[in-house]
Symmetry: C3
Subunit: 364 residues, 3 copies
Amino acid sequence: MENEFRQTSEHPVCAEHTDLRRIRTNPDFWYPVAWSRELRREKAIDVRFAGRHIVVVRPKSGEPYALDGLCPHRQVLLGKGDVHGDAISCIAHGLRYDRDGQCVSSDVSAEAQCLHLTTWACREKGGLIFVFMGEQSLADKIPLPDFPRVKDRRYRTRRFGQVVNCHYSFMHENLMDMNHQVLHSRLVGKMKPRFLGMDHGDGFVEARYTFVRTGGKQPLSEALIYGQRRRDGRDFAYRDVMTIRTQYPYQTLRIETQGIEEPVMELWISYVPQDRDELTNRVFGLLSIKRLKVPFLLDLAWPILVAFTERVFFEDREIVELEQAAWKDLGGDHNQEVFPVINQLRDLLRRCGQRPDGVGKAAS
Amino acid sequence: MENEFRQTSEHPVCAEHTDLRRIRTNPDFWYPVAWSRELRREKAIDVRFAGRHIVVVRPKSGEPYALDGLCPHRQVLLGKGDVHGDAISCIAHGLRYDRDGQCVSSDVSAEAQCLHLTTWACREKGGLIFVFMGEQSLADKIPLPDFPRVKDRRYRTRRFGQVVNCHYSFMHENLMDMNHQVLHSRLVGKMKPRFLGMDHGDGFVEARYTFVRTGGKQPLSEALIYGQRRRDGRDFAYRDVMTIRTQYPYQTLRIETQGIEEPVMELWISYVPQDRDELTNRVFGLLSIKRLKVPFLLDLAWPILVAFTERVFFEDREIVELEQAAWKDLGGDHNQEVFPVINQLRDLLRRCGQRPDGVGKAAS
Amino acid sequence: MENEFRQTSEHPVCAEHTDLRRIRTNPDFWYPVAWSRELRREKAIDVRFAGRHIVVVRPKSGEPYALDGLCPHRQVLLGKGDVHGDAISCIAHGLRYDRDGQCVSSDVSAEAQCLHLTTWACREKGGLIFVFMGEQSLADKIPLPDFPRVKDRRYRTRRFGQVVNCHYSFMHENLMDMNHQVLHSRLVGKMKPRFLGMDHGDGFVEARYTFVRTGGKQPLSEALIYGQRRRDGRDFAYRDVMTIRTQYPYQTLRIETQGIEEPVMELWISYVPQDRDELTNRVFGLLSIKRLKVPFLLDLAWPILVAFTERVFFEDREIVELEQAAWKDLGGDHNQEVFPVINQLRDLLRRCGQRPDGVGKAAS
């Protein structure tokens, strides 16, 4: 018997597909790279996209801008530099660059005027700073994502996120796969999901679920979202519908209650690759919850909700990082998916992303 | 002069041999993977063998069993899961597997019944849980190792072990090579080993030594093992015989005193590869010491003995880890052995183990 | 658009040059490997040169000597061993080696007399222990470096250094490039360098600068070096000349004040590669400062000077380590040098060092 587990795996990875965990993020979309509150006036911040350093600068006046994050002179991180007026200066020699990426420090050295930095389209919306890392001529044609609840006073929005050590595809799968409620049973009690159906098209996959409580008490945080404490699970089983949608490259989750026009909860989330191999991602999430009839009740209960969502997020993170670790250990993807909607989602991510060799679209 | 130290080494590795540190453990034997006390009733534990995750489950009733350690659905570690009755369930989606490795969660998804886990033969003996990772049809024909002193009331047994960062071959060599007493001179005083002879055959190498004290005081812990405090080294020099035997893949060390029929000490030890490259191993050791004539004296003195053996183990571990580090640094084995018995042992380990390419036995 | 940043870089590395950060240190020079104070009588120390372990031994009497740092028997670090008289003994089996590298432990095993260690030329000077790692027949012909101020009572010398995580070439560039004063502006105020000229020849490049203060107060530590507090920058602008010279493989920095014959400050510095890839180096620096007219004033102020130089060193280290990190990240050197003297220095380091393949001189 051989110890070469990789070759003798009982479930070889299908040869005709590129391994999903090697599919790269399609850069022809707007991606969040920082929260607005992270970048003060006349400051700069270093962010990463798929291994590339980007410096985002908020000048003394006007909109933020984004440049390549390494000084072309000696490759020192520009995010460490100072902002004076409109220009960012490198910490090492003080070489200054304007928002067009042009070095404007001919006083330091005549040769410095040859130095130039790549510029990247940059926008700010809803408390997030976005960059466009793809073909720059497309930037104006591709719309920024929309999250109407963020500005709606009838909702309160929580901004959350952190770096998770896995490929972004695990994140999409995890959120869309509501069959993993067992994972959160200590937090939410026993919930049985019922799959209501799915929908898919050119750039999206959508799954709809409802739930029935089969045991355990409804947690307070859940009651807060639904606006009422429900005493008997059976009574209103299947009254709520949860819709999860990956509209490439973003993901949303919406909970609607029968008889109420607007969702009681809406989540918008984006996963931004950090390293070159895209095996870590930074999460930017906007979780909007509808305010209750009693004024300020949601605000009072806010800390409970924050703690609840943090714990759910923590449990999910453990799982996706275990999945990623097993992928590395086994040398590839051995997923044997049992939920058809997840296979649809996997096809979507493969189709919309880029093959690792960068030759073309992943599935073309 | 070049800096390419690897190539210009004065002692090139012999080309006709596979590097001993690349020889893999032969899986057609029973290997301990956990202590019985680590695995409670209705619990599961994740263990490793040469890079492979194994989940060992102790069901509600009956013997423990072993399965591949990653859920076939999404490769989540099953050792994190819960045991209900006879079945282990995955933490992520609650998919349950019985002791035959069959998924029994068709309620979660119809496709789940296609999921199946490899099973591994598993036995429990002497406070250890063993698995058989080789050709499964051989499992019943290959006997479990024997350690009769563990159940013998005239002996007390200490169970010890930890993960050591080196290939298992360094462990075998270190124990059989009693010429390294200088290493432990701060603990045991100056002891001069005298090599009495060796024996070797199909699956074993055995070395016999005796010792004479050339300086330093006999430590209390040593006196406890021998059952008496000896005042004059010369007087009883060469009265004790230490026999170290590698009976592949296990190792034993026995101390006999002239005129006493049974050994005063007997050690059984096994080194189980943890990572895929087998450059770390987990030690499982059973050290049986004969009780003294005064009842409970050995029990009273036990903490001293434990501390003594821990310190000897600590010093040995430092050396084998330095040897392993140098092997990595130099890119291969540069051993120039000066003790013939160690060369016999090295041949045995090469012969009985597996070549890294897995094509056949290492020496065939 | 592709994510393959390495290939699509706008500034490809010139193909006809070997990447400067891959050029190896030329071993045909004397390199410091330890401070004399680190090595007491009858002790040994493990040091590294370009990935090779060296043990330096100070015997009971006579000069220190250097041998390969791994015992040929089982490759255990000899630096862990004990020194008895003239010989170093290995911690594991007590095998002893004399200053010629010959094993003198035939009592342990007859085969031990075949064991032999490579010897390396070794000298001690000015509180430093040097080894010669190149062609040994050259050792006597190549002079040790000279640092006359170290023994001159009119100067006080500070010995400093630590391991810095970068290729030694970054260190040379950083010290010679006085245009990076902006980096230290919090420590030294605003200083504008004026380049006075350079000189270069067979094994050296030399740059001369003067400075004028354009803002900020002169720090006390600087006043101590110059021997007076200067109240008006303009008044004596361009009176001091700083000369930085790389005389391969060492570097010096000298500050002279107009009208004073001897330098007010002289620095000698050497960067010794630690790992095989030479991406870390250990700094050995001797900073000699001329004593002031008031006796003991310099000694009183010494702690201030120490703190000042430590902080400058700390800031420099951050930059060179960022440069090294970017080199790894980008997969090569993307430097676009804007200061001609630095390009001269880079050519010198490439010419005097060794190509990574070791076939010949880097630039031949």
